[in-house]
């Protein structure tokens, strides 16, 4: 058994373990891994998602239990301080010693901090680890403005993060260009103006000399004498390989940093010691990306397992900027410096797009290029560059698109040879993926991801894999359909038609007649929604095909308790009813909060308490608010003309009427509406699935707005119509959406996919060009007539009520539920 020690449990160190286990048989190797950080290796590439709520666990490459199951000794929180090459052992700061036969240094790098006077001051940070981000988030709460030193890939990522924290954001770059390694002047200029539009201030050609402040920074001073006052600074000016340990044990390091290795990734001085990842310097190059690190890990694994391995001779450094909301990519030789080239450039300052490709002198090969503002062609162009594919007769088509009206999409894939690498992180080729689609019958991105890991690293190739999948399926004569899942070869719309035509009332009937297998968590709730939108029978009849929220008619929360949201139409509520909510919440010890939907949420109810709570609410005249359903949630309202001095129509009355009309209506995703009493729009109707704004003459109807993660403004469908007409159009609009949308598509997403867009929608809904207006209205009328409150049904039906128990063999509640206290109310114990 060979004893392997890996120093550094970062992305590359982890990947090395994964690959070594995959390539060897059990018992060949005994692996010990030392990591200085407190947690197992995590995905540093997606570190910034930590700001938007990812947890350490979500970022984790593999949980601690993975190492246990695989027999790897993982020692986190331990810094190796010495390597005894004579005795072949390593020693950690806490005194742990381990012997090795082969040693792998995967110590990565640290942020490079330029020697600026005052960097030790409070409020100065680097951007590399989870702990850095914790510190930035904590400090950011008290800051108002922040500067980022470094206008490269990482610096811009950091700038986006501080901007999202709500800080006034500045980027300071030493050179005259943003992303100097990737962009030329014109590309940088376009990117600069795009970032300025986002509200980020860009300062180029600025050499920071001093950080001012008494203990805590207050501002920066530059070599040209100018200054900038900020409360926080993030330094993201490059990386410095962590070669200090190698140095102390006498291994050679490169003048610019990095442990010197040969083409086999062995250190120059000791063939039993390898260095991989960002810590390694190979042919005087260090690689600050994951893909080359993974490639190095493969090489060493192959050598250790006695497999053929090709020498490591450099790696493509093409990159794409993620996250910022501005597409930027550069590939191959972006500046046309390696050989003499002809550049083809497209620039549109108006829409902020700049594209440049460098073509060889003979016009036959693509050597590289860069894209700003629109990087959809990146995958294809990168492949053409790397594989020296023949160029089309008019190479400008590559960035301008084919302007003769003929489609070029897909044509490119055909010309790609099978050996072309699609996913560089996991080294998956086009041939590998095609093989899986053709021979293994894979038909979805998820299947491909789990079979060969393509797309699971930096994620940059996912659009390419998706396109390839679609193209291959088409080539195989398989219809590329929006099949629901492996159990139904039908789209949602087709299933809905089948349900209607064949009069199908249950999930079992549908899967027996039109599906296969035993269903899953994708098709069950989708079919439940279809059945509900067609027959409007109480969903409690088929409770086990519902998502847990619909099964228990409440939203499941952290810790396994549920929340209770009674309907408060239009946000209007009497003092008596308010008192009842207060009393119920008090009696059952529930946390209460006013929601963003103008009603009141009571959190922390155990499943067995739900029927009792609802019984009391229903007695007081409340009904279900459907906060748990893919159904109508709320119709928000402003106070309108009854009280407001500007109001031109009675918004509250109309909102209540609309909310009661559509309450309980099941749909592909949730639905929200709003009614504002005048143009000032206090009810935010233009961010709702349907919104009404009062005018002097009637109402303007807006549709397909969305808040949420990808906000979209609603679009005007008709203006100045009366109440009755508005309701007719909303009936038609909602029913048309329910009939034709894919599962879990909000109206905004649905409209974006609808050919013809809002004009087509207006044709269908207002002009009735399809002649289905009346049918849609009838269908809606049926829904309205058959509405019943689900909670009322449960409360009054002992059999249904009995389903709300935690244990079937014990009357107690879940004993593992635990709470802590905050501001005088309870909250769930954190997970």
């Amino acid at each position: 058994m060979t004893r392997i020690i890996v120093i550094g449990n970062g992305m590359v160190g982890y990947k090395f373990c994964e690959k070594l286990l995959a390539a060897s048989s059990h018992g060949d190797f005994q692996i010990t891994v030392f990591g200085e950080e407190p947690w197992p290796a995590y995905d540093r590439v997606h570190l910034s998602t930590y700001f938007s709520g990812s947890k350490v666990d979500d970022l984790s490459m593999a949980p601690r239990t993975w190492y246990q199951e695989k027999g790897i000794e993982l020692r986190t929180n331990e810094l190796i301080v010495a390597i005894d090459r004579e005795q072949k052992k390593v020693i950690s700061h806490s005194g742990t010693a381990r012997h090795y036969d082969k040693l792998v240094l995967a110590t990565g790098s640290a942020a490079f901090v330029p020697p600026i006077r005052g960097v030790e001051k409070k409020g100065v940070f680097v951007y590399r680890t989870i702990e850095d981000l914790d510190a930035i988030m904590a400090f950011g709460k008290t800051a108002r403005s922040a500067a980022v030193i470094g206008g490269g890939l990482l610096g811009l990522e950091a700038a986006k993060a501080v901007m999202d924290m709500g800080l006034d954001t500045h980027v300071i770059e030493f050179t005259p260009k943003l992303m100097p390694r990737q962009l030329d002047e014109a590309g940088s200029a376009i990117l600069k103006s795009k970032l300025e539009d986002l509200g980020i201030s860009i300062h180029l050609s600025k050499n920071t000399t001093t950080i001012h402040g008494n203990g805590k920074l207050t501002g920066l001073e530059f070599a040209d004498g100018s200054d900038l006052s900020v409360d926080m600074l993030v330094i993201s000016a490059g990386i410095k390989p962590r070669d200090e340990l190698a140095k102390t044990c006498g291994l050679s390091t490169a003048p610019r940093g990095g442990i010197i290795v040969n083409e086999s990734l062995q250190t120059e001085d000791d063939p039993d010691i390898f260095a991989i990842g960002e810590a390694a310097s190979c042919q005087n190059m260090i690689y600050g990306l994951v893909a080359p690190g993974y490639e190095m890990a493969s090489q060493v694994v192959n050598q250790l397992c006695g497999k053929a391995s090709k020498p490591f001779l450099g790696f493509d450094m093409s990159t794409k900027l993620k996250l910022l909301g501005v597409d930027v990519a550069s590939f191959g030789d972006p500046f046309g410096e390696t050989e003499s080239t002809k550049a083809i450039v497209y620039e549109n300052k108006n829409s902020g797009i700049y594209k440049r490709i460098n073509v060889s002198k003979d016009g036959k090969r693509l050597l590289g290029g860069l894209l700003v503002g629109d990087a959809t062609a990146y995958g294809m162009l990168l492949q053409m560059t790397q594989n020296q594919l023949p160029l089309p007769p008019k190479p400008e088509d590559l960035i301008l698109g084919n302007r003769d009206g003929q489609a070029t999409e897909g044509a490119g894939f055909k010309s790609l040879p099978a050996e072309v690498q699609i996913c560089s992180c996991e080294n998956v080729t086009k041939g590998d993926i095609c093989q899986l689609i053709e021979n293994e019958g894979l038909g979805s991105l998820d299947e491909i991801k789990s079979c060969c890991k393509a797309g699971t690293g930096c994620g940059g190739c996912v659009p390419m894999v998706n396109d390839l999948l679609k193209h291959q399926l088409k080539a195989l004569g398989k219809q590329v359909k929006n099949n629901l899942c492996e159990h139904f070869d039908y789209s949602r719309q087709e299933l809905m038609d089948l349900v209607k035509i064949k009069d199908i009332r249950s999930y079992d009937e549908l899967i027996d007649q039109f599906g296969k297998g035993d269903g899953c968590e994708i098709c069950k709730p989708a079919v439940a929604s279809i059945l509900a939108s067609t027959w409007n029978e109480l969903i409690t009849r088929q409770d086990t095909i519902q998502d847990t929220n619909d099964r228990y008619l409440a939203n499941i929360q952290k810790g396994g308790t549920y929340s209770v949201v009674p309907r408060i139409p239009g946000g209007e509520i009497t003092p008596e009813k308010l008192i009842v909510i207060g009393q119920v919440a008090k009696k059952y010890g529930l946390y209460t909060k006013v929601t963003g939907g103008q009603r009141i949420d009571m959190f922390g109810a155990r499943v067995d308490q739900l029927p009792d709570i609802w019984e009391e609410l229903i007695d007081a005249g409340f009904e279900s608010g459907h906060a748990y359903g893919k159904s109508l949630r709320t119709v928000k309202s402003c106070v309108g003309s009854t009280w407001c001095r500007y109001g031109v129509q009675d918004a509250v009355s109309f909102a209540i009427q609309v909310e009661e009309r559509y309450r309980g209506l099941r749909s592909p995703h949730k639905l929200k509406g709003a009614v504002s009493g005048c143009i000032r729009e206090c009810a935010e109707a233009q961010s709702k699935d349907f919104g009404l704004i009062a005018t002097e003459k009637g109402w303007n109807l807006y549709v397909c707005g969305n808040g949420g993660s990808k906000p979209q403004h609603a679009q005007l469908l008709v203006n100045d119509v009366d109440r009755e007409t508005v309701l007719k159009y909303i009936d038609r609009f909602l029913m048309f959406y329910i009939r034709t949308a894919e599962p879990l598509n909000r109206t905004a997403t649905w409209l974006n996919k609808l050919e013809g867009g809002v004009d087509y929608l207006r044709d269908v809904v207002v002009n009735d060009t399809l002649g289905i207006g009346e049918t849609l209205e009838k269908e809606m009328e049926f829904m309205i007539q058959t509405y019943a409150c689900e909670w009322k049904e449960v409360v009054n039906n002992p059999q249904l009520r009995a389903k709300f128990k935690h244990f079937v063999n014990d009357d107690g509640g879940d004993p593992s539920v635990a709470f802590q206290e905050m501001r005088g109310q309870k909250i769930p114990a954190s997970w």
Binding site: D518, G519, K524, V808
Partner: protein, 125 residues
């Protein structure tokens, strides 16, 4: 009761020492699950009517340590019967306990038998 992973251990039918009489068959929903209490353990039992099969596993989802698997939807992936945790839809094989859509660690499964209208779960204690 603490939400403690180590307490759950896959039981092999051959080594069962206790067949615990958990509940009448009628207490379980068709094609769905419910939770039972055995000593300080919470066990999810599923009546997979479509396949005419029964399964049992720990109620604790190892992803975020939530007592929730009995409330999950069941179904199949290929031939493998599975359950999806209601919290983040991690799916686990009801046969092997393996996580089918990620690297979350496995769950423990228990044998089930039905006699005289009652469901029994087997433990090796």
């Amino acid at each position: 009761m603490s939400a403690n992973l180590e307490k759950y251990q896959t039981a092999a039918t051959s080594r069962i020492t206790t067949w615990f009489k958990a509940a009448p068959v009628s207490a379980l929903p068709e094609n769905g699950g419910a939770c039972i209490k055995y000593k300080d353990l919470q066990i999810a039992i599923y009546k997979f009517s479509r396949r005419n099969e029964w399964y049992a596993c720990q109620n604790l989802c190892p992803h975020k340590m939530q007592m929730a698997l009995s409330r999950g939807m069941i179904g199949s992936q290929g031939d493998e019967p599975k359950v999806a945790c209601p919290f983040h839809k991690k799916t686990f094989s009801l046969k092997s306990g393996k996580n089918l859509n990620g690297d979350t660690c496995s769950i423990d499964t228990y044998p089930v038998k039905v006699e005289d209208g009652f469901v029994y779960v087997g433990f090796e204690d």
